[in-house]
């Protein structure tokens, strides 16, 4: 069954949805959209470094994303005005990555695979890595769930209840880096933030609790993967962007439904 490239693509997409759904909720709740962007863009630099040193791409992107996420989190912790700092970091990381790629022989050809994803070409070994990464994200979030929610609501409230907001931030930072390393194969570095935000935003009007929103976001993400892959086959469109287009359509439908319901 795993011999079929489409089955492998669907499973890779599901892994992405599973990791990005719950984490995407935190990105929305904590207004971390730019944070996700910066981390995702840094992964291109990780790809270049990994290929330059003949290391596995997953670990290269994970390392670069983690370094960027930690750097951004440290800046945020020091009260640097985040808007500008993140804008600078996000786009310079991408530019540095693209420049670094130019120094790696032969990589320039398939650069678009990393920018826009190459889910239809995922191998069995990669699939295993993706699922392990996704399971790690889901496990991490489930383990820290109560503390994460409390710290997201209000850091003072969390501290007074014995929850260390810094530790919860670190958990989210690590989870974000993992999601980037997983999703770069599926939707590519440029659209990872979309997989985080769009399903969560689409889920919001129909959820009454944080848990419901996380589950719904995951389901919407999975649906978008299915629809996007189908569209990719039917219309011969690139798979990653098609998945994000499907998610965006779900978001539009959700807005419409919420408006009708009043």
């Amino acid at each position: 069954m795993l011999d079929d490239f489409l089955v492998r693509a669907a499973l890779a997409g599901l892994a992405t949805a599973l990791a990005a759904g719950p984490l995407g909720c935190f990105v929305v709740w904590r207004r971390m959209a730019y944070f996700g962007d910066a981390t995702a863009h840094a992964s291109v630099l990780g790809v270049a470094l990994a290929l330059g040193f003949a290391l596995p791409v997953f670990w290269g992107t994970l390392a670069a994303a983690l370094a960027m996420a930690l750097a951004v989190a440290a800046l945020a912790g020091r009260g640097v005005t985040m808007d500008t700092a993140l804008g600078v970091l996000a786009h310079s990381a991408l530019a540095f990555g693209l420049v670094a790629v130019a120094f790696v022989p032969g990589l320039r050809v398939d650069l678009s695979a990393y920018l826009f994803g190459d889910v239809l070409a995922v191998s069995q070994a990669e699939l295993l890595t993706l699922w392990l990464g996704a399971a790690a994200v889901a496990g991490l979030l489930a383990w820290r769930w109560q503390g994460l929610l409390t710290a997201t609501l209000n850091e003072d409230l969390a501290l007074a209840s014995g929850v260390d907001p810094g530790r919860e931030r670190l958990a989210l930072t690590v989870a974000l880096a993992l999601v980037v390393a997983v999703a770069i194969k599926t939707v590519g570095a440029l659209l990872i933030a979309a997989m985080l935000i769009v399903p969560a935003a689409a889920a919001r009007p129909f959820a009454r609790t944080p848990e419901a929103m996380a589950v719904l976001a995951t389901a919407i993400g999975a649906g978008a993967v299915g629809a996007g892959l189908w569209a990719s086959l039917a219309f011969d469109t690139p798979a990653g962007p098609s998945i994000v287009v499907a998610a965006a359509a779900a978001f539009a439908a959700s807005l419409g439904a919420a408006a009708v319901r009043g």
């Binding site: 207004r31 109560q146 929610l149 609501l153 003072d156 969390a158 501290l159 609790t209």
Partner: protein, 292 residues
């Protein structure tokens, strides 16, 4: 042993001193209120006690294992996160339905479990915040301007509830407030803060202290006049000298007297200004202060 104490506590933001040399200890079961003008470091003091703000000097001592019930000044819920009252009360500890129903009844908002937090009125919201704090069975309740946004009767009812809770559970209460009038009558001890502790003592002592007059004669004259008008006529002269000494604020004295004599004059305006639009306008900058 005190529950929580600050010893020589100083806090700076970006090199700007906000608090300097604050000594404060809360004993079991007492209600302590911190008053002070905007920017006087009231919220910062609470944050330092809870641990969100690191002291530049001095230290915070908590009794080991101290259970704190904290009610923040504002909880910015803008609807990004869907959250029912029930779910909110189960953060971070899971609580049973029976516990939740009981604490909501106690705080005067029974049956709101299924409501969204964002759908509550201001008064209900504050009571739910208090309910969450109470679920931790606190030895001390720390409240940061808990009645911001409530009208005068709503604030008075909220403070009555705090007093009842103290009487029932014996927990200490440390709060910051702008509602001088209501709060002071409910407090065992009042601390007047303006970067440092200007004066402290029972409500009547503090309201008579020249340092307090200097601050609130200028900053919140309306509220002070209102307070004194109703509760404090007999104390003005008796306490001035006895309690004006402790922090070497001699330079203020002449000033204070001026205000005292002025009092009769200001009095007439106070009723009009105290809780009207003027008071509201003065309270708004408190939000800016807290946001720093």
């Amino acid at each position: 042993m005190s529950l929580i104490a600050a010893e020589g506590l100083s806090v700076s933001y970006g090199g700007q001193p906000v608090l300097s040399g604050v000594d404060l200890a809360v004993q079991p079961g007492e209600i302590v209120t911190v008053v002070g003008p905007n920017g006087s470091g009231k919220s910062t003091l609470l944050h330092a006690l809870i641990g969100t703000v690191r002291p530049a000097a001095g230290r915070v001592v908590r009794r080991p294992g101290l259970r704190i019930g904290y009610v923040p000044q504002r909880l910015a819920l803008d609807g990004r996160m869907p959250l029912t009252v029930r779910r909110f009360l189960s953060l971070p500890e899971r609580r049973s339905a029976a516990e939740i129903a009981e604490v909501l009844r106690r705080t005067g908002v029974p049956g709101t479990e299924g409501r969204q937090m964002t759908a509550l009125s201001g008064g209900q919201f504050q009571r739910v915040l208090l309910a969450r704090a109470l679920l931790a069975r606190p030895e001390i309740l720390i409240l940061d301007e808990p009645t911001q946004g409530l009208d005068q009767p709503g604030a008075a009812a909220f403070y009555r509830l705090i007093e009842e809770v103290r009487a029932e559970t014996g927990c200490a209460v440390l709060m910051v407030s702008h509602d001088l009038h209501v709060v002071m009558s409910a407090s065992d001890r009042v601390i007047c803060l303006n970067g440092h502790i200007c004066c402290e003592g029972t409500p009547t002592v503090v309201s008579a202290a020249p340092e307090y007059r200097a601050l609130f004669g200028l900053g919140t004259g309306g509220a002070l006049a209102l307070y004194r008008h109703e509760h404090d006529h007999g104390h003005d002269h008796g306490h001035d000298h006895a309690h004006g000494h402790d922090h070497g604020q001699g330079h203020d004295h002449a000033h204070d007297r001026g205000h005292d004599r002025d009092h009769g004059h200001a009095h007439g305006h106070a009723h009009g200004q105290g809780w009207g639009p003027g008071a509201t306008a003065r309270r708004d900058p408190a939000g800016a202060e807290a946001g720093r």
